[in-house]
Symmetry: D3
Subunit: 248 residues, 6 copies
């Protein structure tokens, strides 16, 4: 049994509260256990320079942690004057993952920026961010659809993410910080509602892993992501009705 | 009457929730109306280089806004690679104000860092931050006092802050964003529990102001800060009992 | 009596020399005692992006100290790669103060940049800068008025600034560095020729202050600023004749 | 058949030239087709601050491209004043991968820095860099071993990397730039001489991928990496003899 | 005799290999002894903002050293976040020198950027860079001339550079790193095919030098540059035929 | 005749005022015509890290221009966040030139920093800076010598600098801005009191120059520097008595 009493294939308690910001086009506060992230979606009627004139939209993400989201205080990246490699890696991952389920052509020449700000961190901040950012984005696009009557709905499927890892030879779902620190293999998986893979990032820094371990981890992730997508459906309700092609 | 129905000398609804962060030595989520700030206090057993060897402690603050705390999204200062002048000005003000009620000698060689992160902004983010940061600091120092048995209690008085301004010739208490934008005079006041001034910052960028207007604004601020300090007392309860010299 | 022999309500010797730069549209070297600042005004026939298309002008300021303006050498901010919080705070203050007496509509779509470079610092560099920058600006605008025949003169009033503080219970006017370092309350005041307040910035970092102290300090500042504005009038002579609405 | 005439499971021509730098403790110029990278290993008898006093060594990597390594010129990151997200992501990956086959305890308190500078880029710069950096590191550690007589040899296994992807439904090995640009799935795999996984990074930005596709890609990568490790063995010769535990 | 056996007026072995980069419009790998530099020329059909609308072209250069080009590893300027003074000085010199033999009017509104990347450094990196950059530029302009049929050929003369210095009272040609470190006078000279001076930069940091020493050094440089220009002619062959005015 | 009526070999009026800063160990305001520079010397009883433990001192320089020192306003390098190449090149030159006449061993483990701030620029700011910085340094070292009784006097000779150039085929001494802009050859020369060369930096960006032109320019520079050193002797008076070995 795990230190917090969970089964090997059990998610931490998930809480999702939408509409937490009065200005953002979409917003959510999402928790996986003690990891808590505020995700806001901002819609702007323009695209970045490298996308101009293609008739397509853009989806991008930024990620940050409050200085005391963690056990000891981290210096702000704004005070350091630059983004760290970890931050860049994570925000590139979030943006890439979300774009995999957005039809940029259908979205039209607008940009959706997902800001994922980690209020408290206890492992899995990137998977929590992706899962929450999808919800904020879905709310914003649903709101857009009320004004713009898209011919194709711009979101092609649900999308969520979870971490998995191997500790003492056992594959575990949704690692908290303590587990993450002692895992010999650490993997983040992003999947769609249809059960396809979008990102598979497995790292055996402490020790390489076998094909069998990889298979076990992917199976665990698949089941966890299925549960998370059900929670997203509940949270979105009617705002998620047209995702993946429901007719207008 | 004001757009949100308040009297001229009426604060916005104030909400204070302590203990919102499981790692920080002190934490609070504070709202003045729709302005919401998370303040955490971090205690470290060392002082910055310029304070070394003096047997004294240090109190400092950092301030930031989430990108979508405001009506339109602001670029992150971490992405810009530098802190803006407004941010620096505000965090210098918060730190200076808090230090005015801390006996740094009594605190001993440790640093308390107050992080004020604005989750949503609707005017008065600096006054909300000061008022909340005081609470987070008081909790952290109370916790310290349980371990260190200070001979003098390091906090000498309560401290809170409010904004005041003149709109259409009328002095108003605790401006929201809309009011702030149309004020001809804008003043931030920080005061102690004993009713002394710590900071008075009045600006008549749009139009200069008279001595009479200044007097009226200070009176309004004084009454508002009195109310805020009562709310701080309630929120702190026993954790605030020794502030201002209660015997050990 | 003060260490330099001054009365409590006495300014340091003020010297003002205009036309010290052969390129700038307006320039002055101004001293308050041993504090010496060169102020130049640059006029450009364009406005910053955020002001475009409003038919209005802009006034802004930059402030810097030579590395050895002070007792010990300070590292250049250009070598550090960023502006410090103190610099930003001061240059924002100078710009804001000057704008309070400029009719930006009357100025038309042009920018006036005031560069305040402190050659030697002995307390009061920001008040000296504001007082000098006003002169440099007035010269530049007078020169502009010879070419552009403004229908309304763009400067609505004189403007000057002085510091006041409390030392050993006594309110003092125009603190030098030594006095400033030992003041328990420190206040910078900016006022117009008509005796209105533009900025009141009082700080009791070392110890809070009472309403009575505030009143005494404001009275001192008012008298000092009156004297300074007389010196500005003398220095500007005919170039100041139309300030505040003298008919064309 | 592929545009350059290769079979689906065929590597590009690999060339490895060691000893290309007269100062570095280990160096190699490695090419996968038209992708050419210079890798140097620098040994320093100290560890970074966060590793001090643990009796362990450290292995880290830096990655850069010459401005004209690519079809159009890229601005230098030194001129931009910061490292891009892609660079950080890649250099973190290279360092992490190499550490997975280094016994940091056995290495002792020294740092090995691998510099991977891309002279010409035609797809697969990160996999080429990892494969070359391993060789440069192995040469440097072999040289160290002549002086230090390690009780355990610090390199526990060979390590190489290759990219795989799906184009028009076909899984392909070792993509060049043109193939990489049109792949719907793109995966980088790092494996050890024993056939274990160290990193699996698969991305379906353009379109999600199935479990079957993932399996096919991993099989392709496995065979390619086997071939690459044989080439590493040839290039290292005697310098690689003790890798993975050969007795001293 | 010199430590590497050369005569006082003898160049190190020079090697020049053109066409080393498959993308660049011109490229060369050039060595002066153990100093090795890759120079690429990039042609872009636009000019920098300050040159716009003048009907003229621009030639500019960038210079960098790989971190382990030197005996001990240097931190990357991209990681430091800024270019050092030495780098800036050298790249300004390279650009200025090349422009002295380019007819910018004849070149037309295009920019040629020379990237000089030092792969290995053993003294004379700036002179090697200038000599190599000229070749890369000449190749690129010759290629341009095949498409654009310039009425005047844009390169007016050959150009090369060499270092000279005084060691133990003896003037020496083409110093290697060891010699450079012990020279009391150090001079870099750039000359044209016609034997005119383009840059003379002599420094007696360790000790001032006389007019006679200056004369001796210039004579040495002149002979060395003559040899280098012969090698450039050989390397360019037909691609250099029109330099200096050969008729179209 | 020149536009300002000077002879070909005539310096602009030189003015030197010492003791212009009440804090600096040495200070001077120096003008060459309309070019005006404030130079201060700061003495610190420590050396930079790379000089530690050698028993030797260090001399370094920094250079900056006020934003409106020039005809049009330049952005501050502190606001840009980095030093430009020109600034770095000039401050490296000033430091190197001064060190050539300082016996760092005799100076002992202390640093002298020369700050050269250009108040107004009309050509020749680097030569004016070197000539003035020498005076500020000499005053500071003379003051040091009163306390430290150096066994060898640390300054070995006088040092000054002037620019020369060729305009319309005529060599001219001490170019102003207008002349500098139209010169085909531009040379800065630094020499000692003994008439030895310390720096010769000649540039023929617009057009290469002959050996004869070089000789003519050096002769002109030599005579100008002789005059400047006489003015330095006058300005220093007794403070310069021990330069170059006068017995203690």
């Amino acid at each position: 049994m795990r230190s917090d009493g969970r089964q090997q294939n059990q998610l931490r308690p998930v809480s999702i509260q939408t509409g937490v910001n009065k200005y953002a086009e979409g917003s959510v506060e999402i928790s996986f256990g003690d990891t808590k992230v505020i995700c806001t979606a901002t819609v702007e009627e323009r695209v970045p320079p490298f996308m101009k004139g293609q008739g397509k939209g853009w989806v991008t993400a930024e990620y940050s942690m409050l200085p005391r989201a963690t056990q000891t205080r981290n210096q702000r990246e704004s005070a350091k004057g630059k983004l760290g490699g970890r931050t860049m890696e994570i925000q590139r991952l979030i943006g890439r993952a979300l774009r995999s389920v957005v039809d940029l052509q259908a979205l039209g020449e607008r940009t959706i920026t997902l800001d994922c700000d980690v209020i408290q961190a206890d492992g899995g901040t990137r998977t929590t961010s992706i899962t929450g950012a999808f919800i904020a984005m879905a709310i914003a696009i649903n709101k857009l659809s009320e004004k713009h009557n898209f011919s194709r709905y711009p979101i092609t499927d649900y999308l969520a993410s979870v971490s998995v890892g191997v500790i003492n030879g056992t594959p575990l779902l949704d690692l908290n910080y303590e587990e993450d620190s002692s895992a010999k293999v650490d993997m983040n998986v992003v999947m769609t509602g249809a059960g396809q893979f979008v990102e598979v990032q497995g790292t055996g820094e402490e020790s390489p892993f076998s094909r069998q371990e990889l298979n076990d981890l992917l199976a665990l992730a698949e089941s966890g992501i299925g549960e998370l997508i059900n929670k997203q459906r509940d949270a979105l309700g009617q705002a998620g009705a047209r995702i993946g092609g429901a007719k207008a």
